[in-house]
């Protein structure tokens, strides 16, 4: 009798062995079949365009295979400036979102569920209206003869209209407003999972309210905060509409440069190369943050279930 073969290998004899194995295989094929549409979709709408983009970036203006699109980016200082602006704006937007979002999420997390839901709806409601509408609304509010300047001058707070739009200020105000929910939702979610007993325990052990927040609550909210920061930062890197409308041509981000190159020069090679570099940098940001989050977990972070 050798029905008990090596551990891990399946016995091939015995009642219905062949049939049962067949059922196994069929089940696995079926499961794979179910995921095929999703896989195809990813390949068609992400894989192929990105590959094509990369392919296009390898041809110069004369349609000859070369790396000139990339070398030009290194040679011309203007490209460096654009990337710097992009990261600058993304970084500042993220900071503003954290500065507004963290206290707000904390406030919501302390409220009874019913009131917190109302607060969340207030955040999400504008989220459901068109991006373009919201951006132009900011233009109306912030421009030279807009609401804020009118009120400010009528109330005598300032005499000459403040330059709130068509510059970095306007871009940051608009982007922070649009990005805030992306920071708030994961942050609020992770704050809600923090057991109030942790805070009670901390204060029972002698921690003042501030100390309990700083030593216990804040570290436990970090996973949600990091998740929100990464989402906001990465979304900002490729953002187009808001900086285009509210920046007034003074704040040039990579996405806007790509648009200009295609619109004015019809140069797909250069535009593609810019896209590829932005994509690579974005992936780099994701990779680094992933490593950092890992590191954080090793150091003992995370909400810990």
């Amino acid at each position: 009798m050798s029905t008990h073969s090596l551990p891990g290998t399946r016995p091939t004899t015995g009642a219905n062995a062949a049939g049962l194995r067949q059922d196994d295989v069929r089940e696995r094929m079926l499961m794979f079949g179910l995921s095929v549409p999703a896989i195809l979709l990813v390949v068609v709408i992400i894989g192929i365009p990105v590959g094509w983009l990369f392919w296009l970036s390898l041809f110069n203006d004369e349609g000859v295979l070369s790396t000139s699109n990339y070398t030009r980016m290194i040679e011309h200082k203007s490209y460096y400036r654009i990337f710097r602006t992009t990261f600058n704006v993304s970084f500042l937007t993220t900071i503003i979102c954290v500065a507004i979002g963290y206290p707000f999420a904390y406030f919501l997390a302390q409220l009874p569920q019913k009131w917190a839901n109302i607060g969340l709806i207030a955040v999400l409601l504008p989220f459901w209206t068109s991006l373009l509408v919201r951006t132009y609304a900011w233009l109306v509010i912030l421009q030279r003869k807009g609401l804020i300047n009118q009120w400010g001058i009528e109330l005598g707070l300032w005499d000459t209209p403040l330059r709130l739009v068509h510059n970095l200020n306007g871009t940051l105000i608009g982007m922070a407003h649009i990005m805030l929910p992306f920071l708030l939702l994961p942050l609020y979610g992770s704050m809600r999972t923090i057991d109030q007993d942790y805070i009670k325990a901390a204060s029972n052990l002698g921690a003042s309210p501030f100390r309990a927040f700083w030593s216990i609550y804040f570290p436990l909210s970090l996973p949600g905060l990091f998740a929100g920061i990464v989402v906001v930062f990465v979304l900002c890197l490729g953002f187009f509409v808001t900086p285009a409308v509210l920046g007034g041509g003074r704040v040039i981000m990579v996405s806007m440069k790509i648009e200009t190159i295609i619109d004015l020069f019809y140069n797909f090679g250069t535009a593609s190369a810019l896209g590829v570099v932005l994509l690579a940098l974005t992936l780099l940001v994701l990779f680094i943050s992933h490593k950092l989050l890992r590191l954080d977990r090793i150091l003992g972070g995370g909400t810990g279930t």
Partner: protein, 362 residues
């Protein structure tokens, strides 16, 4: 008796403590004295107010009015972090982002204990709860019993003079729970801090406590030693909540007590004028003919026999229709003599174990 590790314990004095939630009294003018160094258990059904009382002592629930003294100090308006009481939470509330040593060292860090002393005290606390060498573990690597010990170590490491525990063993399985009951008891004897322990498990309360405070509907029903709580309940609620019992109405006439016309000898009862007679299943015996002389007797018919492993239960319907239970150990001889359903039996209750209970809240 005086151990080198022993802490100067503090008594707790509670006066007129009241907390309402809408029309409901969670605490209804509670007066309670916890003696210095004793292990006192707050026992009651869920919603009785026992946890509210503990939370008031810890400072997490603000009462409507009343007073609570730790020693001579009024603490009722003191913030929780200034009260210097240790507390073990029901779900342990161990900080998941810190190691075991980080958790236990946290209260010491807050008190600016220097690094060497901190390390030494954390080690000694780990030793006290028998978790030597666990300092570097993460919280999620611990079993339920280990978390319980860490929570305890964290609550005692800063040497509070009062220790509060909120159903700390309820998440453990039965075996481990019984083991931890004995261990907590020993630890209390060793450390000697005044301990207030909340549980809804009467057996746990009887096993561990110096005294038990039975609480119901926000009121203190009885405060006594486990023996007296069980043997001489002050009211029907306590009699029913602790252990099983059947309460029979009795009549009083010129100093004599009788049940359904039969005189009852109540020489063992502290309450001589109680209107209810308490019958506990394990205090009743099945009498053979001729044994009646020493006992108060009750005639009845066997209604049901239930075998429960270590013991068996006999349900007997008395002549006036009341159902009583009698429990007996499953020894071979006793088991062989179990009457059948429908049989006429005589139950006996020794006068020393015959207890009258005042009527009152049930």
């Amino acid at each position: 008796m005086a151990d080198a590790n022993q802490i100067n314990a503090l008594p707790i004095t509670i006066r007129g403590l009241t907390k309402t939630y809408g029309p409901v009294f969670a605490l209804d003018h509670v007066d309670l004295d916890v003696r210095s160094g004793e292990f006192l258990t707050l026992l009651g059904p869920s919603g009785s107010g026992k946890t509210t009382l503990l939370m008031v002592l810890a400072g997490f629930t603000r009462p409507d009015h009343g007073s609570a003294l730790f020693g001579d100090d009024e603490v009722i308006r003191m913030q929780p972090h200034k009260r210097e009481v240790g507390m073990v939470f029901q779900n342990y509330a161990l900080f998941p982002h810190m190691t075991v040593a980080g958790n236990i060292g946290f209260p010491l860090k807050l008190r600016n204990v220097n690094k060497a002393t901190l390390h030494q005290r954390v080690e000694s606390a780990l030793e006290t709860v028998q978790l030597e060498g666990f300092g570097d573990r993460q919280i999620d690597q611990l079993s339920g019993g280990q978390m319980q010990r860490v929570a305890l170590a964290r609550a005692i490491v800063f040497e509070p003079r009062i220790l509060l525990m909120d159903e700390p063993l309820s998440a453990l399985d039965k075996k481990l729970r019984e083991h931890m009951q004995i261990e907590l008891r020993h630890l209390h004897e060793k450390l000697g801090m005044t301990t207030v322990y909340v549980t809804h498990d009467q057996r746990e309360a009887l096993t561990m406590s110096d005294r038990i405070a039975v609480i119901n509907d926000g009121k203190l029903m009885q405060l006594d030693s486990p023996r007296r709580i069980y043997d001489q309940p002050a009211n029907p609620f306590v009699a029913n909540f602790i252990g099983e019992s059947t309460l029979l109405p009795v009549e009083h006439s010129d100093g004599h007590v009788s049940y359904a016309g039969t005189p009852v000898n109540v020489s063992g009862s502290e309450s001589k004028d109680g209107r209810l007679l308490m019958l506990r299943p394990e205090r009743l015996v099945l009498l053979k003919p001729g044994e009646e002389a020493d006992y108060n007797t009750f005639q009845g018919v066997v209604k049901d026999v239930v075998y429960q492993g270590e013991s068996f239960l006999l349900y007997v319907t008395l002549m006036d229709g009341a159902d009583v239970a009698i429990r007996s150990v499953s020894q071979r001889g006793l088991l062989a003599a179990v009457p059948e359903v429908g049989a006429q039996v005589t139950l006996g209750l020794h006068p020393d174990e015959t207890v009258l209970i005042p009527e009152g809240e049930s």
